[in-house]
């Protein structure tokens, strides 16, 4: 609607009843999960006893974060448009000596599409989630989810599966046709939670001094606003009043964590909007996030932990320069930031040339010789062009 609506007095329904019919959001989902397993309805994919670190979540439940032997549930936007994001997650595992599996038998969670268009239904969305979980189970690795939206959507799916027999029956009928079991992991784990528990090990291998950097953090909506009780909180970070992930890493590697007033705001991604209605995404990202940070904290870099947030906050800044907006903050994921701290190559590993905002001043402040690094990357590209190598290998990148 383009103009303000003219309002009649809202009618008051005589029999208006706000009756809580649903379950409370702080229920202990594992009781339900294991109960269903005991009844033979599903298989719970467990994290091995010697393979996790326990952390506190928002309402105090202890959450297990697997250390290694993980099935990497990749993100469409990260792999497609910010490839240094996923590459850095893998690189961190390799550098810390933790085994992982990068599967080809994984599909997107398809939730970006679902939140954009609603062109799907609960049965399809749950079946897609559980097909991926079943595949991870059959492959013998525990799922580690790269995308914040996959993480959020899978938590919603877990609630639906736990509470609705009809949905479980529908999904089972679909999975039977595919020859897959109905499997659910005992925890839904986001990669930024893995980085959170690895922050001391990352610090121990740090090669680049970050003490001159000022950093702002954007917590991803689908990480801490969708099924809120799974998100990690820590009394030592913002007094436990906002999620600890990402901020914990920034502090651990010695950068200056700077606050700003609109930290809770969304990035403006909008799912549908970022693809076909970007005027909204651009305006929100610039006016409510980037300009506020610039004015209140003047950071060298903005660190976040989801596909859509990196994309929106980074790519939205270019066009707004035409309107003299106060922009120009490089945007990286926590995975890339951790990798750079440990001395990862900015182009071969972190693939910073796929980002929009000029990140050379940031690299200079980090003491990284970006001209030399780019020349090294171009050597690899020339080797590919000449046919000397088909692809750049991990050995070439490391």
């Amino acid at each position: 609607m383009s103009s303000l609506p003219i309002l009649n007095s809202p009618p008051k329904a005589k029999d208006r009843v706000f009756d809580r019919k649903g379950h409370i959001p702080t229920e202990y989902f594992k009781d339900l999960l294991f109960d269903l397993e005991a009844k033979g309805e599903l298989i719970v994919h467990r994290i091995a006893d010697d393979n996790f670190i326990e952390v506190d979540t928002k309402y105090g439940r202890k959450k297990k974060i697997p250390i290694q032997h993980t099935w990497h549930h990749k993100s469409c936007g990260q792999c497609g448009h910010i490839p240094g994001y996923s590459t850095s997650i893998f690189w961190l595992h390799r550098q810390l000596g933790y085994e992982y599996y990068d599967p080809k038998d994984q599909t997107s969670c398809t939730a970006w599409n679902y939140y954009a268009s609603s062109a799907s239904n609960s049965a399809a969305q749950a079946a897609i989630a559980i097909r991926n979980f079943a595949q991870a189970y059959e492959d013998g690795y525990f799922p580690l989810i790269h995308c914040g939206t996959s993480y959020g959507h899978y938590k919603e799916t877990r609630n639906e599966i736990l509470h609705h027999q009809k949905l479980r029956d529908q999904v089972r009928r679909i999975l039977d046709k595919l020859g897959k079991p109905l499997v659910f992991p005992e925890e839904i784990v986001h990669y930024s939670e893995w980085i959170h528990v690895m922050r001391d090990q990352i610090k121990a291998k740090q090669k680049v001094d970050f003490s001159k950097l000022t950093v702002t953090v954007h917590p991803a909506c689908h990480y801490h606003k969708l099924v809120v009780e799974d998100a990690i909180y820590d009394r030592d970070l913002y007094d436990g009043q906002r999620t600890a992930v990402v901020s914990s890493l920034v502090k651990s590697v010695g950068a200056n964590l700077a606050d700003y007033s609109t930290w809770h705001d969304c990035c403006g991604f909008g799912f549908r909007h970022i693809l076909v209605s970007r005027d909204f995404s651009r305006s929100f990202a610039t006016i409510r996030k980037i300009e506020r940070m610039k004015e209140e904290a003047d950071p060298d870099v903005l660190i976040t932990h989801d596909t859509g947030c990196v994309t929106t906050l980074d790519k939205s800044q270019f066009a707004t320069q035409a309107h003299d907006r106060k922009v120009g903050i490089p945007v990286l994921s926590d995975a890339q930031f951790a990798a750079l701290a440990m001395g990862a190559h900015p182009y071969k590993v972190c693939q910073l040339h796929w980002h929009g905002v000029d990140n050379k001043p940031l690299m200079e402040k980090m003491g990284v010789d970006h001209k030399k690094a780019w020349a090294e990357f171009e050597v690899q590209v020339e080797r590919i062009k000449s046919g000397e190598i088909e692809f750049m290998s991990w050995e070439d990148a490391e």
């Binding site: 303000l4 003219i6 309002l7 809202p10 009618p11 008051k12 706000f18 809580r20 649903g22 990749k74 792999c79 497609g80 448009h81 996923s86 590459t87 893998f90 690189w91 990068d102 080809k104 038998d105 994984q106 997107s108 939140y115 268009s117 609603s118 062109a119 799907s120 609960s122 049965a123 399809a124 079946a127 639906e160 009809k166 529908q170 009928r173 046709k177 909506c221 689908h222 606003k225 969708l226 909008g270 693809l275 909204f280 929100f284 409510r288 790519k315 270019f318 066009a319 071969k348 040339h353 980002h355 929009g356 990357f377 690899q380 590209v381 590919i384 062009k385 692809f391 750049m392 991990w394």
Partner: protein
Amino acid sequence: MASIYADAKYQDVSEEVKQKLFDEVKADMRWETTLYGCYECGICVASCPSARFYQFSPRVYAQVMAREDIHTFYELLNDSVWDCSQCFSCTRCPRQNNPGGIITIMREVAVNNGMQSAKTALQAYSRIIYKVMSTGTQVAPDMLQPDFFPDWGPDVVKVSENLNNWRRAIPPETMHTTELAWDVSEQTQLELYLIWKLSGNLDQIEILDEGIFMILSEVMEELLEEHGYDLDEIDVVV
């Protein structure tokens, strides 16, 4: 009873039609965990990105749905329902309402009924639906073209010019792709397509965009037959 909007656009639509759509929203299994009450405090509106740039209010959704005001519901379903960002910032609600969740369900009802608001909002979006349903990844490197993202600056031009070589200069072997975000095995793509088909989702796509439905069916069903699947055996099971 009339809509709260004095300038309501759909006053001539029958109450029966509006009630049917409203009942479809309420019949969704998620409905009972989206709305518990409303203090009218406005925290959801203050948290909402869309409320800052559109004539959109999550509080109106909570109020209208709680009052079962089918007339205003129908106005929302035909207009601002597509303005929501689906960020779920509104779940900051002290009554634990989920206006974003109400909107997810409303949008699904709009799509299922082939409503014009859904077709208009998703007009330029069909190629994305085709991409995710046929390949298993939603966005792909080859979408980074200046004509699709003209506002993302000169880096998009550089990426599109160097796409093949730059994709091969990424270490993980699953990411040397240009048409998919990562290398999804053909068997996995087929399993995804079977899920769309078995869950009745393709019927929904046919309502939304017949052209996309026909291309998708043709391409994927040829692939299924190549892999020995009997198409007569694959019926909607939901």
